[in-house]
Protein backbone atom coordinates (compact mmCIF):
# COMPACT_ATOMS: atom_id res chain seq x y z
CA UNK A 1 0.00 0.00 0.00
CA UNK A 2 1.30 3.42 -0.94
CA UNK A 3 1.52 5.85 1.96
CA UNK A 4 1.26 9.53 1.09
CA UNK A 5 3.62 11.17 3.54
CA UNK A 6 6.35 13.54 2.38
CA UNK A 7 9.57 12.54 4.10
CA UNK A 8 12.98 14.19 4.14
CA UNK A 9 16.11 12.32 5.22
CA UNK A 10 18.78 14.72 6.46
CA UNK A 11 22.07 12.89 7.04
CA UNK A 12 25.66 13.35 5.87
CA UNK A 13 26.07 9.56 5.72
CA UNK A 14 25.50 9.08 1.97
CA UNK A 15 25.36 5.26 1.64
CA UNK A 16 23.17 4.72 4.71
CA UNK A 17 20.78 7.48 3.60
CA UNK A 18 20.46 5.82 0.21
CA UNK A 19 19.79 2.41 1.80
CA UNK A 20 17.26 3.91 4.26
CA UNK A 21 15.48 5.71 1.42
CA UNK A 22 15.17 2.47 -0.59
CA UNK A 23 14.01 0.64 2.56
CA UNK A 24 11.25 3.21 3.15
CA UNK A 25 10.18 3.15 -0.51
CA UNK A 26 10.05 -0.65 -0.32
CA UNK A 27 7.76 -0.21 2.70
CA UNK A 28 5.25 1.99 0.90
CA UNK A 29 6.59 5.53 1.39
CA UNK A 30 6.82 6.81 -2.15
CA UNK A 31 7.93 10.38 -1.51
CA UNK A 32 11.34 10.38 0.21
CA UNK A 33 13.85 13.17 -0.40
CA UNK A 34 17.52 13.15 0.65
CA UNK A 35 19.65 16.00 1.93
CA UNK A 36 23.24 15.68 3.09
CA UNK A 37 23.40 18.89 5.12
CA UNK A 38 21.03 20.99 7.20
CA UNK A 39 21.46 24.12 5.12
CA UNK A 40 20.19 22.65 1.83
CA UNK A 41 17.27 21.01 3.63
CA UNK A 42 16.21 24.28 5.29
CA UNK A 43 16.39 26.04 1.92
CA UNK A 44 13.89 23.54 0.54
CA UNK A 45 11.64 23.39 3.60
CA UNK A 46 9.20 26.08 2.45
CA UNK A 47 9.08 24.77 -1.10
CA UNK A 48 8.54 21.08 -0.38
CA UNK A 49 6.49 21.34 2.80
CA UNK A 50 7.84 18.08 4.21
CA UNK A 51 5.57 16.42 6.73
CA UNK A 52 8.20 14.27 8.42
CA UNK A 53 11.95 14.68 8.74
CA UNK A 54 14.41 11.99 9.76
CA UNK A 55 17.29 14.03 11.10
CA UNK A 56 20.83 13.06 12.05
CA UNK A 57 22.51 14.89 14.92
CA UNK A 58 26.10 14.98 13.69
CA UNK A 59 25.99 16.61 10.25
CA UNK A 60 29.60 17.76 10.36
CA UNK A 61 30.44 15.89 7.15
CA UNK A 62 27.93 18.02 5.27
CA UNK A 63 27.61 21.55 6.63
CA UNK A 64 27.97 23.79 9.65
CA UNK A 65 24.61 23.19 11.34
CA UNK A 66 24.09 20.27 13.71
CA UNK A 67 20.81 18.38 14.06
CA UNK A 68 19.62 20.37 17.08
CA UNK A 69 20.09 23.65 15.21
CA UNK A 70 18.19 22.27 12.21
CA UNK A 71 15.41 21.05 14.55
CA UNK A 72 15.12 24.53 16.06
CA UNK A 73 14.81 26.11 12.60
CA UNK A 74 12.19 23.55 11.50
CA UNK A 75 10.04 24.14 14.58
CA UNK A 76 10.28 27.90 14.10
CA UNK A 77 9.25 27.83 10.44
CA UNK A 78 7.06 24.75 10.22
CA UNK A 79 5.87 23.66 13.68
CA UNK A 80 3.52 21.02 12.25
CA UNK A 81 6.43 19.09 10.70
CA UNK A 82 7.27 15.90 12.59
CA UNK A 83 10.93 15.34 13.37
CA UNK A 84 12.48 11.97 14.14
CA UNK A 85 16.04 12.17 15.41
CA UNK A 86 18.21 9.42 13.95
CA UNK A 87 21.60 9.56 15.49
CA UNK A 88 24.80 7.61 16.00
CA UNK A 89 25.12 9.44 19.32
CA UNK A 90 23.90 7.21 22.11
CA UNK A 91 23.75 10.31 24.29
CA UNK A 92 21.03 10.91 26.85
CA UNK A 93 21.84 14.62 26.81
CA UNK A 94 21.24 14.97 23.04
CA UNK A 95 18.14 12.77 23.26
CA UNK A 96 16.60 14.87 26.05
CA UNK A 97 17.52 18.11 24.31
CA UNK A 98 15.97 17.01 21.00
CA UNK A 99 12.74 15.79 22.61
CA UNK A 100 12.54 18.98 24.68
CA UNK A 101 12.84 20.99 21.47
CA UNK A 102 9.95 19.24 19.76
CA UNK A 103 11.36 16.04 18.22
CA UNK A 104 8.78 13.26 18.09
CA UNK A 105 11.25 10.43 18.57
CA UNK A 106 14.96 9.69 19.11
CA UNK A 107 16.39 6.60 17.46
CA UNK A 108 19.99 5.46 17.94
CA UNK A 109 21.55 3.97 14.81
CA UNK A 110 21.73 0.23 15.43
CA UNK A 111 20.99 -3.04 13.66
CA UNK A 112 17.24 -2.55 14.06
CA UNK A 113 17.34 1.18 13.38
CA UNK A 114 15.78 1.19 9.89
CA UNK A 115 12.79 -0.79 11.16
CA UNK A 116 12.46 1.59 14.13
CA UNK A 117 12.47 4.60 11.79
CA UNK A 118 9.73 2.96 9.75
CA UNK A 119 7.65 2.28 12.90
CA UNK A 120 8.05 5.88 13.96
CA UNK A 121 7.03 7.14 10.50
CA UNK A 122 4.04 4.78 10.55
CA UNK A 123 2.84 6.58 13.69
CA UNK A 124 3.21 9.96 11.98
CA UNK A 125 1.37 8.61 8.96
CA UNK A 126 -1.48 7.20 11.10
CA UNK A 127 -1.78 10.54 12.87
CA UNK A 128 -1.93 12.34 9.54
CA UNK A 129 -4.68 9.99 8.30
CA UNK A 130 -6.60 10.51 11.56
CA UNK A 131 -6.38 14.29 11.23
CA UNK A 132 -7.46 14.19 7.58
CA UNK A 133 -10.45 12.01 8.53
CA UNK A 134 -11.33 14.33 11.40
CA UNK A 135 -11.32 17.33 9.06
CA UNK A 136 -13.44 15.44 6.52
CA UNK A 137 -15.93 14.38 9.21
CA UNK A 138 -16.10 17.96 10.43
CA UNK A 139 -16.90 19.16 6.90
CA UNK A 140 -19.60 16.49 6.52
CA UNK A 141 -21.13 17.51 9.89
CA UNK A 142 -21.22 21.16 8.80
CA UNK A 143 -22.75 20.26 5.45
CA UNK A 144 -25.43 18.15 7.17
CA UNK A 145 -26.19 20.92 9.68
CA UNK A 146 -26.47 23.44 6.85
CA UNK A 147 -28.75 21.09 4.94
CA UNK A 148 -31.02 20.74 7.97
CA UNK A 149 -31.13 24.50 8.46
CA UNK A 150 -32.11 25.12 4.83
CA UNK A 151 -34.82 22.45 5.09
CA UNK A 152 -36.17 23.95 8.32
CA UNK A 153 -36.21 27.46 6.84
CA UNK A 154 -37.95 26.05 3.76
CA UNK A 155 -40.56 24.30 5.90
CA UNK A 156 -41.04 27.41 8.03
CA UNK A 157 -41.56 29.58 4.93
CA UNK A 158 -43.98 27.01 3.49
CA UNK A 159 -46.01 26.91 6.73
CA UNK A 160 -45.99 30.73 6.98
CA UNK A 161 -47.35 31.05 3.45
Amino acid sequence: MSKHLKIALVDDDIPNTEVLRDFLIRNGYNHVDKFHDGESFLESLDRFDERAVVLDFDLSGGGDLNGLEVLEAIKERSPQTHVIFFSGQDSLEVAVESLKNGADDYIVKSNAAFALVKTSLDKVYDLQVLRTNEKRNQRISWALALGWMITLVGVALYVAN
Binding site: D13, N16, E18, V19, D22, S60, G61, K109, F114
Partner: protein, 104 residues
Protein backbone atom coordinates in the same frame (compact mmCIF):
# COMPACT_ATOMS: atom_id res chain seq x y z
CA UNK B 1 24.63 -7.16 4.88
CA UNK B 2 21.15 -8.55 5.54
CA UNK B 3 19.45 -5.26 4.73
CA UNK B 4 21.42 -4.92 1.48
CA UNK B 5 20.56 -8.49 0.50
CA UNK B 6 16.91 -7.84 1.28
CA UNK B 7 16.78 -4.58 -0.65
CA UNK B 8 18.62 -5.93 -3.67
CA UNK B 9 16.25 -8.96 -3.60
CA UNK B 10 18.44 -11.22 -5.70
CA UNK B 11 19.31 -8.48 -8.22
CA UNK B 12 23.15 -8.69 -8.48
CA UNK B 13 23.43 -5.27 -10.16
CA UNK B 14 21.45 -3.61 -7.38
CA UNK B 15 23.66 -5.31 -4.78
CA UNK B 16 26.80 -4.10 -6.57
CA UNK B 17 25.34 -0.59 -6.61
CA UNK B 18 24.97 -0.64 -2.81
CA UNK B 19 28.42 -2.15 -2.29
CA UNK B 20 30.00 0.55 -4.46
CA UNK B 21 28.18 3.22 -2.46
CA UNK B 22 29.78 1.96 0.75
CA UNK B 23 33.18 1.45 -0.88
CA UNK B 24 33.13 5.04 -2.17
CA UNK B 25 33.11 6.23 1.45
CA UNK B 26 35.09 3.49 3.17
CA UNK B 27 38.14 3.58 0.92
CA UNK B 28 38.98 7.30 1.19
CA UNK B 29 38.08 7.40 4.89
CA UNK B 30 40.41 4.45 5.57
CA UNK B 31 43.17 6.42 3.85
CA UNK B 32 42.42 9.41 6.09
CA UNK B 33 42.36 7.23 9.21
CA UNK B 34 45.72 5.67 8.36
CA UNK B 35 47.30 9.10 8.05
CA UNK B 36 46.02 10.25 11.49
CA UNK B 37 48.55 10.78 14.24
CA UNK B 38 47.54 9.28 17.60
CA UNK B 39 49.93 11.66 19.36
CA UNK B 40 48.13 14.73 18.03
CA UNK B 41 44.56 15.93 18.65
CA UNK B 42 42.37 12.83 18.19
CA UNK B 43 39.21 14.72 17.16
CA UNK B 44 39.79 13.89 13.44
CA UNK B 45 40.05 10.20 14.39
CA UNK B 46 36.82 10.42 16.42
CA UNK B 47 35.04 12.11 13.54
CA UNK B 48 36.06 9.38 11.05
CA UNK B 49 35.16 6.61 13.51
CA UNK B 50 31.75 8.23 14.06
CA UNK B 51 31.12 8.49 10.35
CA UNK B 52 32.16 4.94 9.53
CA UNK B 53 30.73 3.01 12.46
CA UNK B 54 27.10 3.20 11.23
CA UNK B 55 28.19 2.11 7.77
CA UNK B 56 30.13 -0.93 8.97
CA UNK B 57 27.12 -1.81 11.09
CA UNK B 58 24.80 -1.72 8.08
CA UNK B 59 27.23 -3.93 6.18
CA UNK B 60 27.16 -6.33 9.13
CA UNK B 61 30.79 -6.04 10.30
CA UNK B 62 30.01 -6.47 13.99
CA UNK B 63 33.59 -6.69 15.28
CA UNK B 64 34.67 -3.52 13.48
CA UNK B 65 31.55 -1.70 14.66
CA UNK B 66 32.07 -2.67 18.33
CA UNK B 67 35.72 -1.63 18.25
CA UNK B 68 35.04 1.67 16.48
CA UNK B 69 32.14 2.55 18.79
CA UNK B 70 34.29 1.88 21.85
CA UNK B 71 37.21 3.93 20.45
CA UNK B 72 34.88 6.82 19.63
CA UNK B 73 33.53 6.75 23.20
CA UNK B 74 37.09 6.73 24.61
CA UNK B 75 38.05 9.84 22.65
CA UNK B 76 34.72 11.56 23.37
CA UNK B 77 35.24 10.92 27.07
CA UNK B 78 38.57 12.75 26.98
CA UNK B 79 40.77 9.67 26.61
CA UNK B 80 42.97 8.62 23.73
CA UNK B 81 43.49 5.50 21.67
CA UNK B 82 46.97 4.15 21.03
CA UNK B 83 48.67 3.26 17.74
CA UNK B 84 47.90 -0.45 18.19
CA UNK B 85 44.19 0.35 18.55
CA UNK B 86 44.21 2.50 15.43
CA UNK B 87 46.11 -0.19 13.51
CA UNK B 88 43.57 -2.82 14.54
CA UNK B 89 40.69 -0.66 13.27
CA UNK B 90 42.49 -0.01 9.98
CA UNK B 91 43.17 -3.73 9.62
CA UNK B 92 39.49 -4.63 10.16
CA UNK B 93 38.42 -1.92 7.71
CA UNK B 94 40.91 -3.15 5.10
CA UNK B 95 39.52 -6.69 5.44
CA UNK B 96 35.98 -5.36 5.11
CA UNK B 97 36.86 -3.37 1.99
CA UNK B 98 38.55 -6.42 0.49
CA UNK B 99 35.46 -8.49 1.28
CA UNK B 100 33.18 -5.94 -0.43
CA UNK B 101 35.47 -5.71 -3.46
CA UNK B 102 35.44 -9.51 -3.78
CA UNK B 103 31.66 -9.37 -4.11
CA UNK B 104 31.73 -6.88 -6.97
Amino acid sequence: MEIIDRLSAGDPEKKKYYLRLFLDTLEPELGRLKSCDVNADQEPIRSILHKLKSQVQTIGAAEAHTLMASQEQTIKGGGAIDQAGLDKTCELLSELIQNLQDQL
